[in-house]
Amino acid sequence: MNGLHLPPAPLPAPGVSAAGSGDLMIEAEGVSKVYGTVHALDSVSLAVPRGTVLGLLGHNGAGKTTLVDILTTALPPTSGRARVAGYDVADKPVEIRRRIGLTGQFASVDAQLSGYDNLVLIARLLGAGRRAARVRARELLELFRLTEVADRRASSYSGGLRRRLDLAVSLVGAPEVLFLDEPTTGLDPSSRINLWEIVEGLVEQGTTVLLTTQYLEEADRLADRIAVLSAGRVVAAGTAPELKATVGRRTVTLTLETGEDVSAARTALRGAGFAPVDGEARTVVVPIDATREIADIIRSLDQAGVEASELNFGEPTLDDVYLTLAEQAAGRTRA
Protein backbone atom coordinates (compact mmCIF):
# COMPACT_ATOMS: atom_id res chain seq x y z
CA MET A 1 0.00 0.00 0.00
CA ASN A 2 2.95 2.30 0.32
CA GLY A 3 6.66 2.53 -0.18
CA LEU A 4 7.79 1.47 3.27
CA HIS A 5 10.62 -1.00 3.43
CA LEU A 6 9.82 -4.30 5.01
CA PRO A 7 12.51 -6.11 6.94
CA PRO A 8 14.27 -8.61 4.70
CA ALA A 9 12.33 -11.87 4.50
CA PRO A 10 10.60 -11.77 7.85
CA LEU A 11 9.65 -15.19 9.12
CA PRO A 12 5.90 -15.49 9.43
CA ALA A 13 5.01 -15.15 13.08
CA PRO A 14 3.61 -18.36 14.49
CA GLY A 15 -0.13 -18.20 14.66
CA VAL A 16 -0.61 -15.96 11.65
CA SER A 17 -3.12 -17.81 9.59
CA ALA A 18 -2.33 -17.93 5.91
CA ALA A 19 -5.93 -17.25 5.03
CA GLY A 20 -7.45 -13.84 5.54
CA SER A 21 -5.25 -11.94 7.93
CA GLY A 22 -2.29 -11.86 5.52
CA ASP A 23 0.25 -9.43 6.84
CA LEU A 24 -2.02 -7.41 9.04
CA MET A 25 -0.38 -6.81 12.38
CA ILE A 26 -3.37 -5.20 14.07
CA GLU A 27 -6.95 -6.11 13.26
CA ALA A 28 -10.08 -5.05 15.06
CA GLU A 29 -13.57 -6.15 14.03
CA GLY A 30 -16.56 -4.50 15.66
CA VAL A 31 -14.77 -3.92 18.95
CA SER A 32 -17.03 -2.39 21.57
CA LYS A 33 -16.49 -1.53 25.20
CA VAL A 34 -19.47 -0.69 27.35
CA TYR A 35 -19.31 0.63 30.90
CA GLY A 36 -22.85 0.51 32.27
CA THR A 37 -24.71 2.66 29.77
CA VAL A 38 -21.62 4.40 28.37
CA HIS A 39 -20.27 3.16 25.06
CA ALA A 40 -16.57 3.90 25.40
CA LEU A 41 -16.03 2.12 22.09
CA ASP A 42 -18.79 1.49 19.61
CA SER A 43 -18.03 -1.19 17.01
CA VAL A 44 -14.54 -0.08 16.04
CA SER A 45 -12.94 -1.86 13.09
CA LEU A 46 -9.48 -1.22 11.78
CA ALA A 47 -6.57 -2.97 10.12
CA VAL A 48 -2.90 -2.05 10.19
CA PRO A 49 -0.53 -3.76 7.72
CA ARG A 50 2.96 -4.69 8.83
CA GLY A 51 5.49 -1.89 8.83
CA THR A 52 2.95 0.93 8.68
CA VAL A 53 1.73 3.56 11.11
CA LEU A 54 -1.91 4.09 11.94
CA GLY A 55 -2.63 7.43 13.55
CA LEU A 56 -5.63 7.38 15.84
CA LEU A 57 -6.87 10.90 16.19
CA GLY A 58 -9.34 12.05 18.78
CA HIS A 59 -9.91 14.41 21.65
CA ASN A 60 -9.93 13.42 25.33
CA GLY A 61 -12.51 10.76 26.04
CA ALA A 62 -12.91 9.73 22.40
CA GLY A 63 -11.91 6.18 23.32
CA LYS A 64 -8.31 6.12 22.12
CA THR A 65 -6.82 4.77 25.33
CA THR A 66 -9.64 2.23 25.75
CA LEU A 67 -8.85 0.87 22.30
CA VAL A 68 -5.13 0.71 23.11
CA ASP A 69 -5.95 -1.06 26.40
CA ILE A 70 -7.98 -3.66 24.53
CA LEU A 71 -5.36 -4.22 21.83
CA THR A 72 -2.59 -4.54 24.43
CA THR A 73 -4.72 -7.08 26.36
CA ALA A 74 -5.05 -4.90 29.45
CA LEU A 75 -8.83 -4.77 29.04
CA PRO A 76 -11.23 -7.32 27.53
CA PRO A 77 -13.62 -5.98 24.88
CA THR A 78 -17.34 -6.20 25.66
CA SER A 79 -17.88 -7.52 22.14
CA GLY A 80 -16.02 -7.84 18.87
CA ARG A 81 -12.74 -9.46 17.96
CA ALA A 82 -9.21 -8.16 17.82
CA ARG A 83 -5.95 -9.72 16.68
CA VAL A 84 -2.46 -8.38 17.25
CA ALA A 85 0.61 -9.90 15.59
CA GLY A 86 -1.69 -12.69 14.45
CA TYR A 87 -2.98 -13.63 17.89
CA ASP A 88 -6.46 -13.11 19.28
CA VAL A 89 -6.50 -10.79 22.29
CA ALA A 90 -9.00 -13.04 24.04
CA ASP A 91 -7.12 -16.31 23.55
CA LYS A 92 -3.42 -15.51 23.50
CA PRO A 93 -2.72 -12.43 25.61
CA VAL A 94 0.71 -13.70 26.65
CA GLU A 95 1.80 -14.32 23.04
CA ILE A 96 0.69 -10.80 22.19
CA ARG A 97 2.50 -9.27 25.16
CA ARG A 98 5.70 -10.96 24.04
CA ARG A 99 5.48 -9.15 20.73
CA ILE A 100 4.28 -5.68 21.57
CA GLY A 101 5.69 -2.57 23.16
CA LEU A 102 3.53 0.04 24.87
CA THR A 103 4.34 3.62 25.68
CA GLY A 104 1.40 5.16 27.44
CA GLN A 105 0.43 8.66 28.43
CA PHE A 106 2.29 8.34 31.68
CA ALA A 107 5.80 6.97 31.72
CA SER A 108 5.59 3.37 32.92
CA VAL A 109 9.03 3.07 34.41
CA ASP A 110 10.10 2.28 37.95
CA ALA A 111 10.83 5.72 39.35
CA GLN A 112 12.88 4.21 42.17
CA LEU A 113 15.31 2.48 39.85
CA SER A 114 17.96 3.95 37.58
CA GLY A 115 17.41 4.00 33.83
CA TYR A 116 19.88 1.16 33.44
CA ASP A 117 18.21 -0.95 36.13
CA ASN A 118 14.82 -0.36 34.55
CA LEU A 119 16.02 -1.75 31.24
CA VAL A 120 17.77 -4.72 32.86
CA LEU A 121 14.65 -5.49 34.89
CA ILE A 122 12.41 -5.63 31.83
CA ALA A 123 14.94 -7.67 29.83
CA ARG A 124 15.15 -10.18 32.68
CA LEU A 125 11.37 -10.40 32.90
CA LEU A 126 11.25 -11.09 29.18
CA GLY A 127 13.59 -14.01 29.72
CA ALA A 128 17.04 -12.58 29.03
CA GLY A 129 19.91 -13.95 31.07
CA ARG A 130 21.91 -11.59 33.27
CA ARG A 131 24.56 -10.90 30.65
CA ALA A 132 22.17 -10.57 27.73
CA ALA A 133 20.03 -8.21 29.81
CA ARG A 134 23.01 -5.98 30.57
CA VAL A 135 24.08 -5.92 26.93
CA ARG A 136 20.55 -5.07 25.82
CA ALA A 137 20.27 -2.31 28.42
CA ARG A 138 23.51 -0.66 27.33
CA GLU A 139 22.50 -0.95 23.68
CA LEU A 140 19.22 0.84 24.26
CA LEU A 141 20.78 3.47 26.52
CA GLU A 142 23.15 4.33 23.73
CA LEU A 143 20.51 4.33 21.00
CA PHE A 144 18.33 6.66 23.04
CA ARG A 145 21.28 8.81 24.15
CA LEU A 146 20.58 8.03 27.80
CA THR A 147 24.03 6.73 28.70
CA GLU A 148 24.93 9.85 30.66
CA VAL A 149 21.93 9.58 32.95
CA ALA A 150 21.91 5.76 33.03
CA ASP A 151 22.79 5.49 36.71
CA ARG A 152 20.48 8.19 37.97
CA ARG A 153 17.12 7.30 39.45
CA ALA A 154 14.33 7.67 36.91
CA SER A 155 12.50 9.90 39.42
CA SER A 156 15.16 12.56 38.82
CA TYR A 157 14.65 12.56 35.04
CA SER A 158 13.00 15.40 33.18
CA GLY A 159 9.74 14.67 31.38
CA GLY A 160 11.48 14.27 28.05
CA LEU A 161 14.16 11.96 29.45
CA ARG A 162 11.58 9.86 31.22
CA ARG A 163 9.52 9.50 28.06
CA ARG A 164 12.62 8.46 26.15
CA LEU A 165 13.42 5.88 28.80
CA ASP A 166 9.82 4.70 28.64
CA LEU A 167 10.12 4.17 24.90
CA ALA A 168 13.47 2.43 25.36
CA VAL A 169 11.86 0.11 27.93
CA SER A 170 9.04 -0.61 25.46
CA LEU A 171 11.62 -1.73 22.90
CA VAL A 172 13.62 -4.11 25.09
CA GLY A 173 11.90 -7.12 23.53
CA ALA A 174 12.32 -5.76 19.95
CA PRO A 175 8.53 -5.71 19.54
CA GLU A 176 6.90 -6.19 16.17
CA VAL A 177 4.02 -3.93 17.10
CA LEU A 178 4.42 -0.71 19.03
CA PHE A 179 1.56 1.14 20.68
CA LEU A 180 2.18 4.78 21.37
CA ASP A 181 -0.61 6.35 23.40
CA GLU A 182 -0.19 10.11 23.14
CA PRO A 183 3.58 9.72 23.31
CA THR A 184 4.41 13.41 23.08
CA THR A 185 1.75 14.88 25.35
CA GLY A 186 3.46 17.33 27.67
CA LEU A 187 6.79 17.25 25.85
CA ASP A 188 8.65 20.35 24.73
CA PRO A 189 9.02 20.81 20.95
CA SER A 190 12.59 19.53 20.69
CA SER A 191 11.82 16.39 22.72
CA ARG A 192 8.78 15.89 20.53
CA ILE A 193 10.79 16.05 17.32
CA ASN A 194 13.41 13.74 18.82
CA LEU A 195 10.73 11.18 19.61
CA TRP A 196 9.27 11.48 16.11
CA GLU A 197 12.66 10.74 14.62
CA ILE A 198 13.01 7.66 16.79
CA VAL A 199 9.58 6.41 15.73
CA GLU A 200 10.38 7.06 12.06
CA GLY A 201 13.55 5.01 12.47
CA LEU A 202 11.59 2.15 14.01
CA VAL A 203 9.06 2.12 11.20
CA GLU A 204 11.87 2.10 8.66
CA GLN A 205 13.05 -1.10 10.32
CA GLY A 206 9.65 -2.69 9.87
CA THR A 207 7.92 -2.01 13.16
CA THR A 208 4.18 -1.62 12.99
CA VAL A 209 2.92 1.33 15.00
CA LEU A 210 -0.43 2.40 16.35
CA LEU A 211 -0.16 5.99 17.48
CA THR A 212 -2.87 7.88 19.30
CA THR A 213 -2.60 11.61 19.37
CA GLN A 214 -4.42 14.86 19.78
CA TYR A 215 -1.84 16.59 17.63
CA LEU A 216 -2.77 16.69 13.99
CA GLU A 217 0.73 17.66 13.06
CA GLU A 218 1.97 14.47 14.68
CA ALA A 219 -0.49 12.25 12.82
CA ASP A 220 0.24 14.09 9.59
CA ARG A 221 3.97 13.54 9.97
CA LEU A 222 4.10 9.96 11.25
CA ALA A 223 0.98 8.15 10.10
CA ASP A 224 0.46 6.34 6.81
CA ARG A 225 -3.23 6.19 7.52
CA ILE A 226 -5.37 8.08 9.98
CA ALA A 227 -8.53 7.03 11.75
CA VAL A 228 -10.55 9.68 13.49
CA LEU A 229 -12.22 8.53 16.67
CA SER A 230 -15.10 10.46 18.15
CA ALA A 231 -17.34 9.32 21.02
CA GLY A 232 -16.03 5.76 20.64
CA ARG A 233 -16.64 5.51 16.90
CA VAL A 234 -14.37 5.69 13.89
CA VAL A 235 -15.94 8.63 12.07
CA ALA A 236 -13.40 8.80 9.26
CA ALA A 237 -10.39 6.90 8.01
CA GLY A 238 -7.90 7.27 5.21
CA THR A 239 -4.61 8.89 4.32
CA ALA A 240 -4.11 12.49 5.34
CA PRO A 241 -4.68 13.82 1.76
CA GLU A 242 -7.78 11.62 1.39
CA LEU A 243 -9.26 12.98 4.57
CA LYS A 244 -8.51 16.52 3.55
CA ALA A 245 -10.07 15.96 0.13
CA THR A 246 -13.27 14.37 1.39
CA VAL A 247 -14.08 16.50 4.36
CA GLY A 248 -11.78 19.45 4.65
CA ARG A 249 -12.94 22.60 2.89
CA ARG A 250 -10.98 25.60 1.87
CA THR A 251 -11.62 28.62 3.99
CA VAL A 252 -11.34 32.37 3.91
CA THR A 253 -10.46 33.99 7.21
CA LEU A 254 -11.44 37.63 7.62
CA THR A 255 -9.94 39.82 10.32
CA LEU A 256 -12.12 42.76 11.34
CA GLU A 257 -11.57 45.93 13.33
CA THR A 258 -14.40 45.81 15.86
CA GLY A 259 -16.93 43.44 17.38
CA GLU A 260 -19.75 45.24 15.55
CA ASP A 261 -17.96 44.67 12.29
CA VAL A 262 -17.79 40.98 13.12
CA SER A 263 -21.53 40.64 13.59
CA ALA A 264 -22.24 42.84 10.58
CA ALA A 265 -19.94 40.71 8.43
CA ARG A 266 -21.56 37.55 9.71
CA THR A 267 -25.05 38.80 8.86
CA ALA A 268 -23.97 39.96 5.41
CA LEU A 269 -22.26 36.66 4.62
CA ARG A 270 -25.23 34.62 5.78
CA GLY A 271 -27.40 36.73 3.54
CA ALA A 272 -25.13 35.84 0.63
CA GLY A 273 -25.55 32.13 1.33
CA PHE A 274 -22.32 31.44 3.22
CA ALA A 275 -21.99 29.64 6.55
CA PRO A 276 -19.50 31.78 8.49
CA VAL A 277 -18.16 30.69 11.86
CA ASP A 278 -16.49 32.82 14.48
CA GLY A 279 -12.77 32.34 14.61
CA GLU A 280 -10.26 33.67 17.10
CA ALA A 281 -10.44 37.27 18.33
CA ARG A 282 -12.39 39.33 15.74
CA THR A 283 -12.05 36.90 12.89
CA VAL A 284 -14.69 35.17 10.83
CA VAL A 285 -13.97 31.91 9.04
CA VAL A 286 -15.92 31.26 5.87
CA PRO A 287 -15.84 27.81 4.28
CA ILE A 288 -15.90 27.96 0.49
CA ASP A 289 -16.20 25.44 -2.31
CA ALA A 290 -14.43 27.32 -5.08
CA THR A 291 -11.86 30.11 -5.27
CA ARG A 292 -14.17 32.40 -7.20
CA GLU A 293 -16.41 32.65 -4.16
CA ILE A 294 -13.82 34.96 -2.66
CA ALA A 295 -15.17 37.64 -4.95
CA ASP A 296 -18.68 37.03 -3.61
CA ILE A 297 -17.39 37.42 -0.07
CA ILE A 298 -15.72 40.73 -0.81
CA ARG A 299 -18.80 41.99 -2.66
CA SER A 300 -21.18 41.16 0.17
CA LEU A 301 -18.88 42.79 2.72
CA ASP A 302 -18.64 45.88 0.53
CA GLN A 303 -22.43 46.08 0.25
CA ALA A 304 -22.73 45.90 4.03
CA GLY A 305 -20.11 48.62 4.42
CA VAL A 306 -17.71 46.43 6.35
CA GLU A 307 -14.02 46.50 5.64
CA ALA A 308 -11.79 43.58 6.51
CA SER A 309 -8.32 44.58 7.65
CA GLU A 310 -6.95 41.23 6.60
CA LEU A 311 -8.10 38.42 4.35
CA ASN A 312 -6.45 35.00 4.36
CA PHE A 313 -7.09 32.09 2.10
CA GLY A 314 -6.51 28.68 3.71
CA GLU A 315 -6.08 25.20 2.30
CA PRO A 316 -7.77 22.57 4.47
CA THR A 317 -5.65 21.24 7.31
CA LEU A 318 -6.20 18.17 9.42
CA ASP A 319 -7.49 20.57 12.05
CA ASP A 320 -10.35 21.47 9.75
CA VAL A 321 -10.95 17.81 9.02
CA TYR A 322 -11.08 17.00 12.68
CA LEU A 323 -13.30 19.91 13.62
CA THR A 324 -15.72 19.22 10.79
CA LEU A 325 -15.96 15.56 11.74
CA ALA A 326 -16.39 16.34 15.39
CA GLU A 327 -19.20 18.76 14.54
CA GLN A 328 -20.89 16.18 12.35
CA ALA A 329 -20.61 13.57 15.08
CA ALA A 330 -22.00 15.97 17.66
CA GLY A 331 -24.86 16.79 15.31
CA ARG A 332 -25.63 13.09 14.94
CA THR A 333 -25.75 12.46 18.65
CA ARG A 334 -27.98 15.45 19.18
CA ALA A 335 -30.37 14.40 16.41
Binding site: P7, L75, E95, G101, F106, S108, E176
Partner: protein, 280 residues
Protein backbone atom coordinates in the same frame (compact mmCIF):
# COMPACT_ATOMS: atom_id res chain seq x y z
CA UNK B 1 19.67 -12.89 21.49
CA UNK B 2 18.32 -12.39 18.01
CA UNK B 3 18.29 -8.61 18.08
CA UNK B 4 20.25 -6.95 15.33
CA UNK B 5 21.49 -3.44 15.34
CA UNK B 6 20.78 -1.20 12.44
CA UNK B 7 23.67 0.40 10.54
CA UNK B 8 24.76 3.59 12.31
CA UNK B 9 22.10 5.81 10.79
CA UNK B 10 20.66 8.24 13.32
CA UNK B 11 18.56 7.18 15.05
CA UNK B 12 19.59 3.56 14.91
CA UNK B 13 17.04 1.17 16.27
CA UNK B 14 16.89 -2.57 16.80
CA UNK B 15 15.01 -4.44 14.13
CA UNK B 16 11.85 -6.15 15.30
CA UNK B 17 12.10 -9.90 15.11
CA UNK B 18 9.21 -12.11 14.11
CA UNK B 19 10.31 -14.34 16.93
CA UNK B 20 10.49 -12.36 20.21
CA UNK B 21 14.00 -11.31 21.16
CA UNK B 22 13.87 -13.19 24.43
CA UNK B 23 12.33 -16.54 25.20
CA UNK B 24 10.02 -15.51 28.03
CA UNK B 25 10.56 -16.16 31.71
CA UNK B 26 9.11 -18.63 34.20
CA UNK B 27 6.95 -17.49 37.10
CA UNK B 28 9.84 -18.31 39.42
CA UNK B 29 12.25 -16.10 37.49
CA UNK B 30 9.68 -13.31 37.49
CA UNK B 31 9.26 -13.55 41.26
CA UNK B 32 13.02 -13.64 41.76
CA UNK B 33 13.68 -10.66 39.50
CA UNK B 34 10.88 -8.58 41.04
CA UNK B 35 11.94 -9.49 44.57
CA UNK B 36 15.46 -8.41 43.70
CA UNK B 37 14.06 -5.12 42.43
CA UNK B 38 12.28 -4.32 45.71
CA UNK B 39 15.17 -5.54 47.84
CA UNK B 40 17.45 -3.23 45.91
CA UNK B 41 15.11 -0.32 46.60
CA UNK B 42 15.07 -1.32 50.28
CA UNK B 43 18.85 -1.46 50.47
CA UNK B 44 19.28 1.89 48.75
CA UNK B 45 16.63 3.36 51.03
CA UNK B 46 17.17 1.59 54.38
CA UNK B 47 15.12 4.25 56.16
CA UNK B 48 11.99 2.14 55.77
CA UNK B 49 13.53 -0.81 57.61
CA UNK B 50 15.06 1.34 60.34
CA UNK B 51 11.97 3.48 60.72
CA UNK B 52 9.97 0.29 61.16
CA UNK B 53 12.14 -0.53 64.17
CA UNK B 54 11.31 2.65 66.06
CA UNK B 55 7.80 1.60 67.01
CA UNK B 56 8.62 -1.83 68.48
CA UNK B 57 11.59 -0.46 70.36
CA UNK B 58 9.52 2.39 71.82
CA UNK B 59 6.70 0.01 72.75
CA UNK B 60 9.19 -2.34 74.35
CA UNK B 61 10.69 0.49 76.36
CA UNK B 62 7.34 1.93 77.46
CA UNK B 63 5.88 -1.45 78.40
CA UNK B 64 8.84 -2.65 80.37
CA UNK B 65 9.42 0.66 82.14
CA UNK B 66 5.78 1.44 82.91
CA UNK B 67 4.10 -1.90 83.49
CA UNK B 68 6.87 -3.80 85.22
CA UNK B 69 6.62 -1.39 88.18
CA UNK B 70 2.95 -2.21 88.67
CA UNK B 71 3.43 -5.61 90.21
CA UNK B 72 2.78 -8.94 88.54
CA UNK B 73 -0.84 -9.96 87.91
CA UNK B 74 -1.95 -13.17 89.68
CA UNK B 75 -1.83 -15.44 86.61
CA UNK B 76 1.59 -14.35 85.46
CA UNK B 77 3.88 -17.31 84.68
CA UNK B 78 6.51 -18.03 87.34
CA UNK B 79 10.14 -17.16 86.83
CA UNK B 80 9.43 -14.90 83.89
CA UNK B 81 10.23 -11.18 83.88
CA UNK B 82 7.77 -8.78 82.29
CA UNK B 83 10.29 -8.04 79.54
CA UNK B 84 10.55 -11.76 78.77
CA UNK B 85 6.77 -12.04 78.80
CA UNK B 86 6.11 -9.11 76.51
CA UNK B 87 8.93 -9.49 73.99
CA UNK B 88 7.35 -12.29 71.90
CA UNK B 89 4.19 -10.14 71.69
CA UNK B 90 6.21 -7.11 70.59
CA UNK B 91 7.73 -9.26 67.86
CA UNK B 92 4.28 -10.35 66.68
CA UNK B 93 3.11 -6.73 66.75
CA UNK B 94 6.13 -5.79 64.68
CA UNK B 95 5.33 -8.64 62.29
CA UNK B 96 1.86 -7.18 61.80
CA UNK B 97 3.25 -3.69 61.15
CA UNK B 98 5.71 -5.11 58.65
CA UNK B 99 2.83 -6.96 56.98
CA UNK B 100 1.04 -3.64 56.61
CA UNK B 101 4.16 -2.26 54.93
CA UNK B 102 3.87 -4.98 52.28
CA UNK B 103 0.44 -3.65 51.40
CA UNK B 104 1.74 -0.08 51.32
CA UNK B 105 4.61 -1.23 49.10
CA UNK B 106 2.15 -2.67 46.61
CA UNK B 107 0.14 0.56 46.62
CA UNK B 108 3.34 2.46 45.86
CA UNK B 109 4.16 0.06 43.03
CA UNK B 110 0.75 0.75 41.56
CA UNK B 111 1.43 4.48 41.59
CA UNK B 112 5.03 4.20 40.49
CA UNK B 113 4.40 3.15 36.89
CA UNK B 114 5.95 -0.28 37.21
CA UNK B 115 2.55 -1.97 37.51
CA UNK B 116 1.33 -0.28 34.33
CA UNK B 117 4.48 -1.55 32.62
CA UNK B 118 4.11 -5.11 33.92
CA UNK B 119 0.56 -5.26 32.57
CA UNK B 120 1.84 -4.92 29.02
CA UNK B 121 4.48 -7.61 29.56
CA UNK B 122 4.14 -11.39 29.59
CA UNK B 123 4.41 -11.38 33.38
CA UNK B 124 2.06 -13.25 35.71
CA UNK B 125 0.06 -10.80 37.84
CA UNK B 126 0.89 -12.86 40.92
CA UNK B 127 4.64 -12.37 40.43
CA UNK B 128 4.74 -8.83 41.77
CA UNK B 129 2.48 -9.79 44.69
CA UNK B 130 4.68 -12.73 45.59
CA UNK B 131 7.72 -10.47 45.35
CA UNK B 132 6.09 -8.00 47.75
CA UNK B 133 5.36 -10.85 50.14
CA UNK B 134 8.93 -12.14 50.03
CA UNK B 135 10.39 -8.68 50.55
CA UNK B 136 8.10 -8.27 53.55
CA UNK B 137 9.43 -11.54 54.90
CA UNK B 138 13.02 -10.36 54.53
CA UNK B 139 12.17 -7.05 56.23
CA UNK B 140 10.43 -8.89 59.07
CA UNK B 141 13.36 -11.25 59.52
CA UNK B 142 15.82 -8.37 59.76
CA UNK B 143 13.61 -6.60 62.28
CA UNK B 144 13.05 -9.72 64.42
CA UNK B 145 16.79 -10.33 64.49
CA UNK B 146 17.58 -6.72 65.41
CA UNK B 147 14.90 -6.50 68.12
CA UNK B 148 15.93 -9.82 69.69
CA UNK B 149 19.61 -8.90 69.63
CA UNK B 150 18.85 -5.49 71.13
CA UNK B 151 16.59 -6.97 73.81
CA UNK B 152 19.18 -9.58 74.79
CA UNK B 153 22.20 -7.29 74.88
CA UNK B 154 20.72 -4.02 76.14
CA UNK B 155 17.49 -4.78 78.00
CA UNK B 156 18.40 -8.15 79.49
CA UNK B 157 15.96 -10.42 77.66
CA UNK B 158 16.69 -13.97 78.87
CA UNK B 159 14.26 -16.49 77.39
CA UNK B 160 14.20 -19.94 78.99
CA UNK B 161 13.70 -21.78 75.73
CA UNK B 162 16.64 -23.40 73.96
CA UNK B 163 18.18 -22.11 70.74
CA UNK B 164 16.04 -24.43 68.62
CA UNK B 165 12.83 -23.36 70.37
CA UNK B 166 13.82 -19.71 70.05
CA UNK B 167 14.43 -20.19 66.35
CA UNK B 168 11.06 -21.95 66.00
CA UNK B 169 9.41 -19.07 67.81
CA UNK B 170 11.03 -16.58 65.45
CA UNK B 171 9.98 -18.77 62.50
CA UNK B 172 6.37 -18.80 63.68
CA UNK B 173 6.51 -15.01 64.09
CA UNK B 174 7.68 -14.76 60.48
CA UNK B 175 4.88 -17.07 59.35
CA UNK B 176 2.40 -14.75 61.08
CA UNK B 177 4.01 -11.81 59.27
CA UNK B 178 3.78 -13.71 55.98
CA UNK B 179 0.09 -14.51 56.36
CA UNK B 180 -0.90 -11.03 57.54
CA UNK B 181 1.28 -9.71 54.71
CA UNK B 182 -1.01 -11.43 52.20
CA UNK B 183 -4.05 -9.95 53.94
CA UNK B 184 -2.57 -6.47 53.54
CA UNK B 185 -1.38 -7.14 49.99
CA UNK B 186 -4.97 -8.12 49.17
CA UNK B 187 -6.19 -4.92 50.82
CA UNK B 188 -3.62 -2.91 48.87
CA UNK B 189 -4.63 -4.57 45.60
CA UNK B 190 -8.26 -3.59 46.17
CA UNK B 191 -7.97 -0.24 47.94
CA UNK B 192 -5.02 1.07 45.93
CA UNK B 193 -4.39 3.85 48.41
CA UNK B 194 -2.03 3.85 51.35
CA UNK B 195 -4.18 5.84 53.78
CA UNK B 196 -7.14 3.48 54.16
CA UNK B 197 -4.62 0.67 54.45
CA UNK B 198 -2.88 2.35 57.38
CA UNK B 199 -6.23 3.15 58.98
CA UNK B 200 -7.25 -0.47 58.58
CA UNK B 201 -4.08 -1.54 60.34
CA UNK B 202 -4.73 0.93 63.14
CA UNK B 203 -8.37 -0.10 63.56
CA UNK B 204 -7.75 -3.84 63.38
CA UNK B 205 -4.30 -4.57 64.78
CA UNK B 206 -4.07 -2.03 67.58
CA UNK B 207 -7.24 -3.12 69.49
CA UNK B 208 -6.64 -6.79 68.72
CA UNK B 209 -3.21 -6.58 70.28
CA UNK B 210 -4.66 -5.23 73.55
CA UNK B 211 -7.58 -7.64 73.53
CA UNK B 212 -5.17 -10.57 73.51
CA UNK B 213 -2.63 -12.24 75.72
CA UNK B 214 0.01 -9.84 74.39
CA UNK B 215 0.57 -7.63 77.43
CA UNK B 216 -1.39 -9.32 80.23
CA UNK B 217 -2.39 -13.00 80.66
CA UNK B 218 -5.93 -13.61 79.42
CA UNK B 219 -7.03 -14.80 82.86
CA UNK B 220 -6.08 -11.41 84.30
CA UNK B 221 -8.08 -9.38 81.77
CA UNK B 222 -11.57 -8.11 82.69
CA UNK B 223 -13.98 -10.95 81.93
CA UNK B 224 -15.51 -9.41 78.76
CA UNK B 225 -12.08 -8.60 77.39
CA UNK B 226 -10.90 -12.07 78.34
CA UNK B 227 -13.77 -13.49 76.31
CA UNK B 228 -12.65 -11.48 73.28
CA UNK B 229 -9.03 -12.43 73.89
CA UNK B 230 -9.78 -16.14 74.07
CA UNK B 231 -11.18 -16.11 70.50
CA UNK B 232 -8.68 -13.57 69.17
CA UNK B 233 -6.34 -15.26 66.68
CA UNK B 234 -3.51 -13.06 67.91
CA UNK B 235 -3.80 -14.70 71.34
CA UNK B 236 -3.10 -18.07 69.74
CA UNK B 237 -0.24 -16.66 67.73
CA UNK B 238 1.34 -14.89 70.69
CA UNK B 239 0.77 -17.79 73.11
CA UNK B 240 2.49 -20.14 70.70
CA UNK B 241 5.52 -17.95 70.03
CA UNK B 242 5.79 -17.19 73.74
CA UNK B 243 5.49 -20.85 74.76
CA UNK B 244 8.34 -21.72 72.43
CA UNK B 245 10.62 -18.88 73.42
CA UNK B 246 10.04 -18.92 77.18
CA UNK B 247 9.32 -22.62 77.73
CA UNK B 248 5.96 -21.82 79.37
CA UNK B 249 2.54 -23.48 78.80
CA UNK B 250 0.60 -22.52 75.67
CA UNK B 251 2.23 -24.65 73.00
CA UNK B 252 -1.16 -26.28 72.38
CA UNK B 253 -2.08 -23.00 70.67
CA UNK B 254 0.60 -23.50 68.01
CA UNK B 255 -1.53 -25.74 65.74
CA UNK B 256 -4.56 -23.41 65.68
CA UNK B 257 -2.20 -20.46 65.15
CA UNK B 258 -0.56 -22.13 62.15
CA UNK B 259 -3.91 -23.20 60.69
CA UNK B 260 -5.43 -19.72 61.07
CA UNK B 261 -2.35 -18.13 59.49
CA UNK B 262 -2.40 -20.60 56.60
CA UNK B 263 -6.07 -19.85 55.92
CA UNK B 264 -5.43 -16.08 56.03
CA UNK B 265 -2.49 -16.50 53.65
CA UNK B 266 -4.40 -18.60 51.10
CA UNK B 267 -7.52 -16.39 51.17
CA UNK B 268 -5.24 -13.34 50.98
CA UNK B 269 -3.39 -14.68 47.93
CA UNK B 270 -6.58 -15.44 46.00
CA UNK B 271 -8.19 -12.12 46.92
CA UNK B 272 -5.00 -10.23 46.12
CA UNK B 273 -4.61 -11.68 42.62
CA UNK B 274 -8.27 -10.97 41.86
CA UNK B 275 -7.98 -7.39 43.05
CA UNK B 276 -4.70 -6.82 41.29
CA UNK B 277 -6.09 -8.05 37.95
CA UNK B 278 -8.70 -5.29 37.81
CA UNK B 279 -7.72 -2.53 35.38
CA UNK B 280 -5.83 0.38 36.94
Amino acid sequence: MTTQLAPPLPPAVPRPAAVPAFGGSSLLTQIRVLTGRSLRAMVTDPGIVLFGLIQPVVILFVLTQVFSKMGMPPHFPDGVSYLDYVLPAVLVDNAAQSAMQSGVGLVEDQKNGIVARLRSLPVHPGALLAARSLVGLVRSAVQVAVIMALAMTVLGYSPNGGAAELALSAGLTLFISFSLGWAFIAAGAWLRRAEPLQNLALIVIFPLMFASSAYVPVADLPSWLGAVASVNPLTYAIDATRALALDVPGLDHAIPAVVICAVIAVVGMITAVRGFRRPL
